[in-house]
């Protein structure tokens, strides 16, 4: 399957194969990040967490690693209840719309160097980052549509909050990334990784941009401390309130897929993508199949680190108040990221003249 094909008419097959592979990796990652979330939260709260489900129909428990199977089965067989007061079409569309953008983002993320002759990216776009921001901001539609369609006060408030929050942090996030591309000179995500090869991670060159981007990703994915859209202590379950069964699970999976997409973006933009500062083997595009797989593994490991961070933070920090959220977004991050752009521009101008 990974044989060298130079015939352009076969490209769509390879692309399709890559799409299937990315799905096959990301879906289990979503499932297991849910398990990780539950286990880590349990440990932080002095509990043990789900440790029972192992291989079905046996007594092998495997530390509870079979939990996604049980969760999935439960979500599928539960009653899918549609309240009478909802707007049905939008209500049915919303979970899909919430989930799709997170996966579409992954299309432009280079998740490895190459396997054989193939670049390990589904769509090697020259406007990669613009595409990403365009798609990421679509994620809010799912939640806003849900809040509108649910026709009930809690999802409505959740949707409004989510909309406002996403818009506020989208700007800070976009501006935070501008210095990265001033340094790199290209918008292609592959080029960003090339620039960072051999340890010149933009995390060290642009710590402020990284901090703002990280926090904005938290807000974009509706994770604590910015989960005002869900905020179960105030809004019951926010946008999830009217949903049950598999539709709820779709929102849930969408959230985790968005976390993975956000982590992938952070890894690509600031942490060197699939590269490691350990010599040429980890920095040059792969020549052998094994090297290519190692690069993919490095990339996945880096994503796992960020996922762990996001999960940990959720159980560490309390939720921001709405006005605090807006203050931080507009009054702190926006000016800071603008200042960062100007500072980077000045430094580049001085260095180049």
């Amino acid at each position: 399957m990974l044989a060298v094909t130079t015939d352009p008419s076969q490209d769509w097959l390879l692309t399709l194969f890559k799409v299937v592979c990315v799905f096959a990796v990301v879906m289990p990652m979503v499932a297991y990040s849910v398990v990780a979330e539950r286990r880590i939260s349990a440990w932080i709260q002095d509990r043990i967490g789900p440790n029972r489900v192992g291989i079905p129909f046996t007594n092998i428990k495997l530390l509870g690693l079979g939990q996604p199977l049980a969760d999935g089965l439960k979500a599928l067989v539960k009653e899918d209840f549609t309240p009478a007061h909802v707007m049905k079409v939008f209500y049915w569309m919303a979970p899909a719309i919430a989930m799709v953008p997170s996966f579409v983002v992954l299309a432009v993320v280079p998740f490895g160097s190459r396997l054989g002759e193939q670049k390990m990216v589904i769509a090697d776009l020259d406007v990669g980052i613009l595409f990403t921001f365009g798609v990421v901001s679509l994620g809010v539609y799912g939640i806003v549509l849900d809040g509108y369609a649910s026709n009930s006060k809690y999802p409505f408030l959740g949707g409004i909050r989510s909309g406002a929050q996403m818009i506020s942090y989208e700007i800070a996030m976009g501006l935070a990334v501008v210095p990265v591309f001033m340094l790199v000179g290209k918008l292609n995500l592959g080029a960003v990784i090339e620039y960072q090869a051999d340890g010149a991670w933009l995390l060290f060159k642009q710590p402020l941009a990284f901090a703002i981007f990280l926090i904005a990703i938290f807000a974009e994915t509706n994770r604590l401390p910015f989960d005002l859209a869900e905020s179960e202590t105030e809004l019951v379950a926010g946008y999830n309130t009217e949903y049950s069964s598999m539709r709820f699970a779709l929102f849930f999976m969408g959230e985790y897929a968005a976390m993975i997409a956000g982590s992938a973006l952070m890894v690509v933009l600031f942490c060197g993508g699939w590269t490691l500062p350990l010599g040429d083997y980890f920095n040059m595009p792969a020549e052998s199949l094994g090297q290519g797989l190692v690069h993919i593994a490095v990339f996945l490991a880096k994503i796992a680190v960020f996922l762990g961070l996001m999960i940990w933070v959720r159980w560490m920090l309390p939720r921001f108040r709405y006005d605090q959220l807006m203050n931080i977004g507009w009054k702190r991050f926006l000016p800071l990221s603008l200042a960062n752009i100007i500072l980077t521009a000045i430094v580049l101008w001085v260095l180049n003249s």
Partner: protein
Amino acid sequence: MKVDRTKLTWWERLYIPSILNGFKVTMRHFFSWKRSKVYGDKQKSYRAKTTMQYPEEKWDVPTGYRGAPYLLKDVDNNTKCVSCQLCEFVCPPRAIRITPPGGGGVVEREGAEKMPDEFEIDMLRCIYCGYCQEVCPEEAIYLLKDYAITGESREELIYDKEKLLELGGADKRAYDHHAQDGVAEGVKKWETKMREASEQPKFH
């Protein structure tokens, strides 16, 4: 009402001290690996997980807990119940049904005139009030510590005599059950009963 807000310093307003503190606290709890028993000493240690692995570990219920009523046997492994039917009459939800021996029936031990042919308790009806234990002159029925009565059908949860006797066990267990926490009243009553029983004239 005027709420006094503490004026935060510039450093504090960066949220960084709070984040570091939160990290410290979560780290400490995350690495608390020690397994612990339910209640008891584990409550004193923050380095212990609080989860009880339920079906394997169970609550150690306090003395005087009214669990499921079971029938007891005496030290010689004979049924203590004498089929007086007081518990049946006193039972508020009518969960107990006793079939008396009528004319015949087996008498297992000395000092008793008859034994129940059948003794059924419907665990779904039982309200664990303890009246049966209170009223029993022979201390043959006891509310033990079982609190998780489960079954797959209604019929399964009507416990018959054999099952009740098996679950209740010998009176030694009842003795221990109440003696272990230093509560002596039940025990004394039982001892008195035994003395009275031994002083009764023997019919043979």
